[in-house]
C-alpha cells in the first residue's frame, strides 16, 4: 500500500511536504520507544500516540518509512522540523490507535513481525 493511500484511508493530514508515492510494507504501533526499536522493521510505518522529538529519533534509528500520530495529537513544531531535516514523513489522524491499526490491517498492511526484513 502506498503512503498516499494510507493517508486517504486514515483521513490523515501531512505535517510537512513530503513525497507520498512510495510503498509501505508493514506497520507497528507502540507508545514505548524501546518496544518500537525491537518491533519495527525498515520500510515500516510507525503508529504512535507519543509526540516528542524522541519518536522521530527512534524512527530514524531503525529507518521507519513514516510516522502516524493517532488520536489527533499534534506534535510541536520542533518535532516536525526535526522530521523534515531527517526526511521522515509525518502524518496526523484523528482516529484512535486501535481503529487506525484495524483499518490498515484490513487493507493488507501486515504487522512488523509478520514480514521478513527487506534489504535496502
Amino acid at each position: 500500500m502506498k503512503l498516499k493511500e494510507i493517508m486517504e484511508v486514515l483521513k490523515a493530514e501531512e505535517l510537512w511536504d513530503f513525497p507520498t508515492d512510495f510503498k509501505v510494507y508493514s506497520a507497528g504501533a507502540a507508545d514505548l520507544m524501546s518496544d518500537v526499536l525491537m518491533l519495527a522493521k525498515e520500510n515500516s510505518l510507525l503508529l504512535t500516540g507519543l509526540t516528542n522529538t524522541q519518536v522521530v529519533r527512534t524512527a530514524e534509528m531503525i529507518d521507519i518509512s513514516a510516522i502516524v500520530f493517532v488520536r489527533g495529537k499534534r506534535p510541536e513544531s520542533e518535532v516536525i522540523e526535526l522530521a523534515e531535516k531527517l526526511d521522515i514523513p509525518l502524518l496526523l489522524t484523528e482516529l484512535p490507535m486501535y481503529e487506525a491499526c484495524g483499518i490498515l490491517y484490513k487493507h493488507g498492511i501486515k504487522g512488523s513481525s509478520q514480514v521478513e526484513i527487506l534489504q535496502k
Binding site: S34, M38, L50, N52, T53, I62, D63
Partner: protein, 161 residues
C-alpha cells in the same frame, strides 16, 4: 551482581582500544550530558550515518544503531554525564558507554525485561519500559556491564560482522 563486578578484562577494554587505535577502521567518541533531552539521540544518529558511509551492511548498522541509541538514552535519562565510544575493526564493532551517575543497584534485575527504575517523567516520554538493557543485549554478540553504586556504569557491546 558479583559476577559482573569481577570482570577486570572489561574494565580495561576502553584503555586497550585507545592504545590500539591504528587497528581500527574508525573510532568515534561522544560526550553525552545527562538530562539533555534536546540533543538526546544525536550521537547515535551521527554513528549511524558514519557507518553507512563506511559501507557497512544494513543489518549490522541496525543492531549498532539500536544498541548505541539505548545506551545513549540511558546516559541521558539516568546519569549525570558520560561518553559513548564506537570502534570499528576489521571483523567487529565495539560500543563502549561509560557514565558518571547513580549506578545500578541490581544489575541482574535490570537485565530482566520489563524491570525499570525510571521516573514517571521518563515514562511519559516513552522510555523506561524496562527494555533498554535487554534490547542492548539482544543486539550484541558480546555484552558486558559493570556498575558501581554512586559512581556510574560501564557497558561494552561487541557486534561481529
Amino acid at each position: 551482581m558479583k559476577s559482573y563486578k569481577s570482570d577486570k578484562k572489561y574494565l580495561y577494554a576502553d584503555r586497550k582500544d585507545k592504545n590500539h587505535k591504528g587497528k581500527f577502521l574508525m573510532s568515534m567518541r561522544f560526550d553525552i550530558s545527562g538530562g539533555n533531552l534536546d540533543s538526546a539521540g544525536e550521537a547515535s544518529s551521527t554513528i549511524k550515518s558514519k557507518l553507512k558511509q563506511l559501507g557497512i551492511g544494513y543489518s549490522i548498522i541496525r543492531r549498532v544503531a539500536i544498541a548505541s541509541y539505548e545506551t545513549e538514552m540511558n546516559i541521558v535519562l539516568h546519569a549525570n554525564r558520560g561518553t559513548l565510544s564506537v570502534y570499528v575493526a576489521e571483523d567487529h564493532i565495539k560500543i563502549i558507554a561509560v557514565d558518571e551517575g547513580p549506578g545500578i543497584p541490581n544489575v541482574e534485575l535490570a537485565m530482566q525485561e520489563g524491570y525499570s527504575t525510571a521516573t514517571e517523567q521518563i515514562r511519559e516520554m516513552g522510555f523506561g519500559a524496562g527494555m533498554g538493557l535487554p534490547n542492548m543485549k539482544k543486539c550484541s554478540d558480546q555484552f558486558e556491564i559493570h556498575s558501581d553504586i554512586g559512581k556510574g556504569t560501564k557497558v561494552m557491546i561487541v557486534i561481529f560482522f
